[in-house]
């Protein structure tokens, strides 16, 4: 099975998401902001889904999503936004960039695992 990339500037949230997914058998790697996340996607073909925060320093999650989709690249890589934000305008922007889901923090473990199981590419 491919890996899950968790992109969040909070080490606590990264650790919480990683532990939750690892307990369900997923291999998880982490990035602390959008720049690091985009670099990992560019260099690791084994990433099968991305869990992506919105508000982060250097490059936010929506900017990262739009960057990795540039020119149609990685267009089949599923992305779930995990954020405190609930603004419809941000959700629409994420959908337009090809996000597959939106979860408002704090997440429920069973819903996150279920969403990842459903969407991860093999």
């Amino acid at each position: 099975m491919k890996k899950v990339l968790v992109v969040d500037d909070s080490p606590t949230i990264r650790q919480q998401v990683s532990q939750t997914l690892a307990q369900s058998g997923f291999e998880v790697i982490e990035a602390a902001d959008g720049i690091e996340g985009a670099e990992k996607i560019a260099s690791d073909a084994d990433i099968g889904i991305v869990i992506l925060d919105v508000n982060m320093p250097r490059m936010n999650g929506l900017e990262m999503l739009e960057k990795v989709r540039e020119g149609g690249r990685h267009r089949d890589l599923p992305v779930i936004m995990l954020t405190t934000e609930g603004q419809q305008s941000l959700i629409e922007r994420a959908k337009l960039a090809g996000a597959k889901g939106w979860i408002v923090k704090p997440f429920k473990a069973e819903l996150l695992v279920s969403a990842v199981r459903k969407l991860i590419t093999t």
Binding site: S10, T12, N55, T84, E85, I91, K95, G101, V104, K108
Partner: protein
């Protein structure tokens, strides 16, 4: 009744905002397994709390007709109890503050008001409390072995009102497209 008579007063709007913040704080800690009990300031005050060291996260926010800051302060125990992992105390109080303001922001959104928020600032000190421009009692909460305080320092335009509530994405809900 005229339209003007139906419009909430400035004081009613502020009271509603405080109510939203109280609910947001209680439900946030509940989501991380910590039950908060709302108490009056005489029962739990930052000046008299038995655990004098407080950890505090401050997040500013602003939008059309409204600006302010949310200050979350808590003794160590509720922060440790709510932390889902064995991680940094500093990062967790910042994340809790961020999620608290996120909840308030989403409640404001459901009332038709959009605000933008700042990055959290974290403080640690004894009997921490803000020095507001006018009297600002905290929303006080007690937990099993600790205290949590929330201040919402707020300025609104005289004609600022919250709209009627509408549906918003609930925290924890997963929406797949």
């Amino acid at each position: 009744m005229t339209e003007a008579a139906d419009k909430p007063t400035h004081g009613e709007t502020l009271a509603l905002l405080e109510q939203l913040a109280g609910v947001a704080c209680t439900s946030l800690f509940q989501a991380y397994g910590v039950a908060l009990q709302r108490v009056n300031e005489a029962e739990a005050s930052p000046a008299t709390t038995p655990a004098p060291i407080l950890y505090s996260g401050i997040v500013g926010f602003g939008g059309p007709g409204i600006r302010g800051a949310c200050i979350l302060a808590a003794s160590e125990k509720p922060i440790l109890q709510s932390n889902p992992v064995d991680g940094s105390l500093r990062d967790w109080i910042a994340e809790l503050s961020n999620q608290l303001v996120g909840r308030i922001k989403n409640k404001l959104l459901a009332h038709g008001t959009e605000v933008y928020v700042t990055t959290p600032v974290v403080l640690r000190g004894e009997h921490l409390a803000p020095m507001p421009r006018r009297e600002l009692p905290p929303l006080s909460f007690k937990t099993d072995g600790g205290s949590v305080f929330v201040w919402i320092e707020l300025e609104t335009a005289a004609d600022f009102v919250l709209g009627p509530p509408s549906q918003a994405i609930a925290e924890g809900e997963a929406v797949l497209f």
